[in-house]
Amino acid sequence: MGDAVKLNGAEGAPDAWIEGVESPEFKTLIDAKQRSIVPMIVIYMIGYMGLSVLAGFGRGILGTKVLGAVNLGFVLIAGNYVMSWVLAIVYARISANRHDPLVKVVVDKARASGSAR
């Protein structure tokens, strides 16, 4: 059975979901997620697109020698590796410690009210 068919049943009662989405527990979850995810998105987009724009238009800047033959460009490339790995670990921690318990509250409440499986 395709997914589309399974889901057609839900069309009748969207109001129950609006209730779920407007519940304080769900709002707390969304707030917590936005507070951590949005800054992370800003960080990696600026970090990586900054490098890409400099690679195109800042050849001289990236060529500045920093450590022996290694120039600023390679330092920023290394920085992008470190940035990605740090963000991965930080996001894994925050989502496991803060988001997942909040999701559990919302799920438990929805299950208790019988509007979801």
Binding site: V5, L7, V21, L51, S52, G56, G63, N80, S84, A88
Partner: protein, 510 residues
């Protein structure tokens, strides 16, 4: 051409066929076929993601680009890691919570209208074929160079392999072929890294200094490969957003039991694949250091044989057992790499054709379970045959444009449509069609009139048009939505969509 290569390759082939036989007995339902029963662990899916995402372009190409063009190679290598930040923060968990087997599932769940699903199917098929054909052509060239087998026979052998894996063993076999390939690739990378650094007293700074001394003062600057500054920006944008729009990688998130596992599998791949990408930069510089820039340009089209040549040198040289062993190992891993990637692409394309197009669009979901599996298997065989034929036809054609095109379409058409479907209340079927159409047409159109295809006669200056096509794709999606007008029932249902994105809960209202 040596016996060690053949022996190693035969061993890899036998193991993967054994796995396929094992997986075939465990593949009975559609969930088995498309999603490996949703039973993979985070580590397993992390390795499989690494095997899926690291194509020959990553395994051989990044090293070659760094060896021939310096910093541009390193810029090519870091992008595919940063790309997973987008997947981790925006896509992996919502996708796992809303879809079943394909990206089309997500779009159909949100929009419930056939034109939206049709647009998603077109996007997936075009991207997958644009990605698949160069892989097949690359495999033909590579096997011809390494084993001395004719180009068309080489392509057919790869086609046969991927058809057997996918049609018989479905996602389970595909996943394990990718996991084994990832382990082999990382093993080869670790050995080469150790040998390359051992020769310079484990001081990578020596490699930088030596490469600059041998290849010239501009070698460590950007712009040696991508001459147009906007192409550097396009490369960055394409990677950062394109991965999240590549169906063959995104369907891997359906193989795990829940969103938490999907998230943890992204962390795995970021460390596994990211570490390998970082190593390719060292390998490229090491190749210049040990072999010199001139020797690298002989019989080494596009730099793709740099890594095998370097491995042979580090193993002891051309006429030693160690050198033969290393060359054989790296060559066998290169072929395993291609097989793992084309298997994933074949499976993703079969999902778009069998599940999205046939079952959900034509038959409105009214197809018996066992029949769906049969259709999926037949589709995999057909997709494999089409890809093989296109791969044979593509001999001698400049296929590099197609890889760029695949990532560009994924970033410009698929990514905006996917993200807006998940997070924008006003987004509707008009937006899906508008975004997909404008993103697709501008990507294909600009790539075809650019230098990658027309060379010196190019009408358009950029190899990679993402910097223009992506904004156009977003504009198409936004204006398409606004032009289609408001539908309050549809917007109201976005609450349900949001609830499911965040919790994975499905409605059971009658």
């Amino acid at each position: 051409m040596n016996l060690i290569t053949i022996a190693m390759f035969a061993a890899i082939l036998l193991i993967s066929l054994g796995i396929t036989a094992w997986a075939a007995r465990r593949t009975r339902t559609t969930v088995d076929f498309y999603a490996a029963g949703k039973g993979l662990t985070a580590a397993q899916n992390g390795f499989a993601l690494a095997g899926d995402w690291c194509s020959a372009a990553a395994f051989l190409g990044f090293t070659g680009l760094t060896a021939l063009y310096g910093m541009d190679g390193a810029l090519y290598a870091v992008g595919p890691l940063v790309a997973f930040c987008t997947v981790l923060l925006l896509i992996a968990e919502p996708l796992r919570n809303t879809g079943t087997y394909t990206i089309g599932d997500v779009i159909m769940y949100r929009m419930r209208q056939p034109p939206a699903l049709a647009a998603a199917i077109v996007g997936t098929i075009v991207i997958n074929l644009a990605y698949l054909v160069p892989q097949m052509a690359g495999a033909g060239v590579l096997i011809k160079l390494m084993f001395g087998i004719r180009y068309d026979v080489s392509v057919m052998l790869v086609g046969l392999g991927m058809i057997i894996y996918v049609a018989a063993g479905g996602m389970l076999a595909t996943s394990w072929v990718q996991i084994i390939k990832a382990i082999l690739m990382l093993g080869a990378g670790a050995i080469i890294l150790f040998l390359a650094l051992a020769g310079v007293g484990f001081d990578p700074l020596v490699l930088f200094a030596s490469a600059e001394a041998k290849a010239g003062p501009n070698f460590l600057l950007p712009g040696n490969f991508l001459k147009n500054p906007f192409d550097e920006v396009s490369l960055g944008l394409g990677y950062m957003l394109g991965l999240a729009g590549l169906p063959h990688v995104m369907i891997r998130f359906y193989t795990v039991p829940d969103a938490t596992t999907a998230r943890r599998s992204v962390i795995w791949v970021m460390f596994l694949a990211g570490a390998f990408f970082a190593c390719t930069t060292i390998f490229g510089l090491a190749a210049v250091h040990y072999l010199g820039p001139d020797a690298l340009r002989v019989g080494n089209p596009g730099g793709n044989l740099t890594l095998p040549i370097l491995a042979q040198y580090l193993g002891g040289g051309k006429d030693t057992v160690g050198g033969q062993l290393m060359l054989g190992f790296v060559s066998a891993v290169a072929v395993a790499t291609i097989l793992a990637v084309v298997a994933g692409l074949t499976l993703a394309t079969s999902g778009a054709v069998a599940n999205d197009l046939y079952v959900n669009l034509f038959r409105k979901g009214k197809v018996e379970e066992h029949q769906q599996v049969l259709v999926a298997r037949i589709t995999a065989v057909l997709v494999g045959i089409v890809a093989t034929l296109l791969g044979i036809v593509a001999e001698g054609v400049n296929v590099a444009v197609l890889v760029i095109l695949a990532i560009c379409i994924a970033a410009s058409a698929n990514f905006p449509v996917l993200v807006l479907s998940l997070f924008w209340r006003r987004f509707n079927t008009g937006g899906v069609v508008g975004g997909m159409a404008l993103g697709l047409v501008s990507s294909v159109g600009l790539a075809l009139i650019g230098p990658a295809y027309l060379g010196a006669n190019a009408i358009w200056p950029l190899v990679n048009p993402t910097v223009v096509a992506l904004p156009l794709g977003i504009l198409g999606a936004v204006f398409g939505s606004l032009l289609a007008g408001r539908n309050h029932e549809h917007e109201k249902r976005f609450s349900e969509v949001t609830f499911r994105i965040q919790t994975g809960l499905r409605s059971n209202h009658p």
